[in-house]
């Protein structure tokens, strides 16, 4: 094997005193070779991003600093470089792409000028032509027109392409990509992954790719390093790690990735229809000002769906497809402009304010972000008991019920007096579920309930939801962008695209024989779908 481009030897990074562990990264060693993609995979807090930051010399010093090991690049130890020497390396030898394409670009500077700046900062000649060339290289349409565009003119995927163009402007030998597709939709993600793959092989670069998603790993990696609690627990070729993992943690993680094969489900054709939405429409109008025209966005158009007793209907789509709008219209957090929402035959759209209260009890919601959905100033018990108390249950009874619910969702009832910040993301989501169940609803609206969670926690929360749903015979509207999750959870799936439901059917049927072209695109874009297909 040739000499590695970059050699990380026993890297240890200290955390500030008082953190939950002394080292963010402990004795991490790996090599990055020319013309390969090495994926660092791990859950949140595993130290993968800090490892990448150390390689770029971007650690938030002095609170977090490397305390041992070396980073060998062309015979030099990067940890010993001065800030001056680093500047020469960054950009020229190392390129970096970040997670958030929305914030990584300067919003008041034209895109082409930002790329030009990278070239000029390193004293490169031939600016203007190089910019066009780079924009072409990242497959941006119409590079000439794009030169005068500002970041807000571009979509998320296009911005990420611009970021890649900037990272590659000086033909670096190493590209470090920190979760570059996490903020993107699946179809865009597939394109960006293909682009990184293509540029990498054209330029023979070594790519250090940080991700939490095994699907992405299967799609892009040559070699994989799995990190847990700051250590690399398994390192090897992709096939070996994905198909025959040896470490328990890797096995567990891979086990937790939901498969794309929907399990068989008993049909519910006979069951009572709980919710029936007909022709639902919602248009957002921003108020026009003196010098501003009104802006009109159609978020949902003629949406028709129904849910039977005990059934889970998945509402899948990419960001901006209107799936969240539909969920919020159904639970009447926002008013729809058109259509009926029949709940047991009563049109909820006919009610407003106080008149809705009897129905609030029967339809409940689980929110996406377990950090934002619990009031940080309220104790867990108060959060769960708030609903019953609002409906007139006496406080002692409500508290007792909250304790029962806590054990139902797998938490110790004694945590009732703690505050939300003392819990992990998964535990918080359990509290959110307990709150939704406190009013004994018949219909649950779950808005991306697991998308903010790590994959192993995600599996536990999904199991919990499935278990509770079965025990209480609940109906559920499950909103998600993740088709893997939808395949596992839903009896039927409705696919939304630009505010409309384009296809609806039983999960098995829809995944095996998608009829609408958009559904097919969506299914094709799932990262690592061939890997799962082989495994099953």
């Amino acid at each position: 094997m040739t000499e590695p481009l970059l050699s990380v030897r026993d890297l240890t990074i200290d955390l500030p005193p008082g953190s939950d562990r002394p080292h963010a990264v402990e004795n991490v060693s790996f090599d990055l070779h020319e013309n390969e993609i090495l994926c660092l995979v791990g859950e949140s807090g595993s130290g993968k991003s800090l490892t990448a930051a150390a390689v770029m010399g971007l650690l938030p010093q002095p609170s977090v600093r490397p305390s041992g090991g070396e980073l060998l690049f062309e015979g030099r130890d990067l940890l010993k470089l001065s800030e001056e020497e680093w500047r020469g390396l960054r950009g020229r030898r190392f390129g970096m792409i970040f997670q958030e394409p929305m914030t990584a670009l300067n919003p008041v500077m034209r895109v082409s000028d930002q790329i030009l700046e990278v070239l000029q900062a390193h004293g490169e000649a031939g600016g203007e032509d190089r910019v066009t060339e780079l924009l072409q290289a990242v497959n941006l349409p119409d590079p000439e027109r794009l030169r005068s565009a500002y970041p807000h003119h571009l979509s998320g995927g296009q911005r990420q392409r611009v970021m890649i163009a900037m990272a590659l402007a000086l033909r670096p030998t190493i590209l470090i990509a920190d979760e570059p597709t996490t903020a993107l939709d699946v179809t865009t993600q597939a394109q960006i992954l293909a682009l990184i793959r293509q540029l990498q092989s054209e330029r023979q670069m070594g790519v250090l790719f940080i991700t939490h998603d095994f699907g992405v790993v299967a799609e892009i990696a040559d070699r994989v390093a799995v990190m847990q609690h700051g250590r690399i627990v398994e390192l090897g070729a992709k096939e070996q790690v994905l198909e025959a993992p040896t470490h328990d943690y890797t096995k567990r993680l891979i086990q937790a990735v939901p498969t794309l094969d929907p399990p068989e489900r008993r049909p519910l054709d006979r069951a009572l229809t709980v919710l029936s939405v007909k022709g639902l429409g919602k248009t957002y109008r921003t108020a026009g000002g003196l010098f501003r025209p009104r802006r009109v966005v159609t978020a949902a158009k003629n949406v028709t769906l129904s849910i039977r007793k005990g059934e889970t209907l998945g509402l899948v789509g990419e960001s901006g497809s209107g799936k969240t709008t539909v969920g919020r219209c159904v639970i009447r957090l926002i008013d729809s402009d058109a259509g009926r929402i029949d709940f047991h035959g009563v049109d909820l759209n006919a009610f407003r304010g106080r008149a809705l209260r009897p129905y609030r009890k029967r339809v409940q919601m689980i929110f996406q972000d377990p950090y934002a959905s619990l009031n940080p100033r309220h104790k867990v018990g108060d959060i769960i008991a708030a609903g019953p108390i609002a409906f007139g249950t006496a406080k002692p009874d409500a508290v007792k019920r909250a304790q029962e619910l806590l054990s139902l969702v797998g938490l110790d009832p004694s945590v009732i007096d703690r505050y939300p910040h003392e819990f992990s993301g998964g535990q918080r989501q359990r509290i959110g579920i307990a709150r939704a169940l406190a009013l004994q609803p018949e219909l649950l609206i779950a808005d991306e309930p697991v998308s903010a969670l790590d994959v192993s926690v995600q599996a536990q929360v999904l199991d919990l939801l499935a278990d509770i749903k079965r025990r209480l015979n609940l109906s559920m509207l499950f909103i998600t962008h993740d088709l893997r999750v939808a395949a596992q959870v839903c009896d039927r799936v409705a696919v939304m695209y630009q505010g409309e439901i384009v296809e609806q059917g039983s999960t098995g049927e829809l995944f095996r024989h998608p009829s609408h072209p958009y559904t097919r695109t969506l299914l094709d874009a799932i990262p690592g779908k061939h890997w799962r297909a082989r495994r099953a």
């Binding site: 609170s63 639970i331 957090l333 209260r357 609030r360 009890k361 339809v363 409940q364 919601m365 929110f367 996406q368 972000d369 934002a372 959905s373 619990l374 009031n375 940080p376 100033r377 309220h378 708030a386 609903g387 609002a390 409906f391 959110g432 709150r435 406190a438 009013l439």
Partner: protein
Amino acid sequence: MREFWQRYRRNKGAVVGLAVLAFIVLIAAAAPLVYPASPWEMAGAPFQRPFGEFPLGTDMLGRNILSGIVHGARVSLMVGIVSTFFAVTLGLALGALAGYFGGVIDDALMRFTEFFQTIPSFVFAIVLVAIFRPSIASIVAAIAVVSWPPVARLVRGEFLSLRRREFVQAAVVVGETHLRIILGQILPNALSPVIVMASLMIASAILLESALSFLGLGDPNMMSWGYMIGASRSVIRQAWWMSTFPGVAILITVLALNLVGEGLSDAMNPRLARKGRA
């Protein structure tokens, strides 16, 4: 609470400020014990220099200046605290309503707020006190009326952003009433910047009261620091101490309040504080 004190203590200036403030409050509380006689009464010969018979000298009518400062502390603190209390209450109520309900209510309340903000606050306070005759009540009312708009704007901003949080939506979904959501869910989360602002507002209220008294618009029955400076300004070249010591009292009190406000801000936003100090 203990954790809060730990964080507060990290800001040394704030601890000093708190100690000074506690001392001033103590003096104000103990004023009738230290100087049982009215500060308006003649205590000795006029124009006595400080550090003689009287620690801080006497004024042109022979009144004890230290006694005036000690009694003036009561007026200053009382005016500062009471007027801030009313200003914060009013600002909280209007800001909360505007931020929570939005739309027409927000527009109406904010235009109303802007109406008050367009008038220079000191001039407005003078007009109010002059119309309603100088008395302690009219001074407190005038200061409250000119100082609530910033509170309303701050609270409105907090409510606007908190209103969209998922935990508020969750409260709507479980059927809590608007009042419960405003008071129970949003207000506790919006309070920290308001508390910080209130501590700074007490300081500016004290300054406003002093300025009003300086112009002779103080309560004629209340000895206040501003009045002392105003009354002795004409003899400042012969008797510097008459206006200097009340001035120093104002300076120290306002400084202490500002230090405390900064400390509260640090303790309530620990992340911001650490960033600022790194």
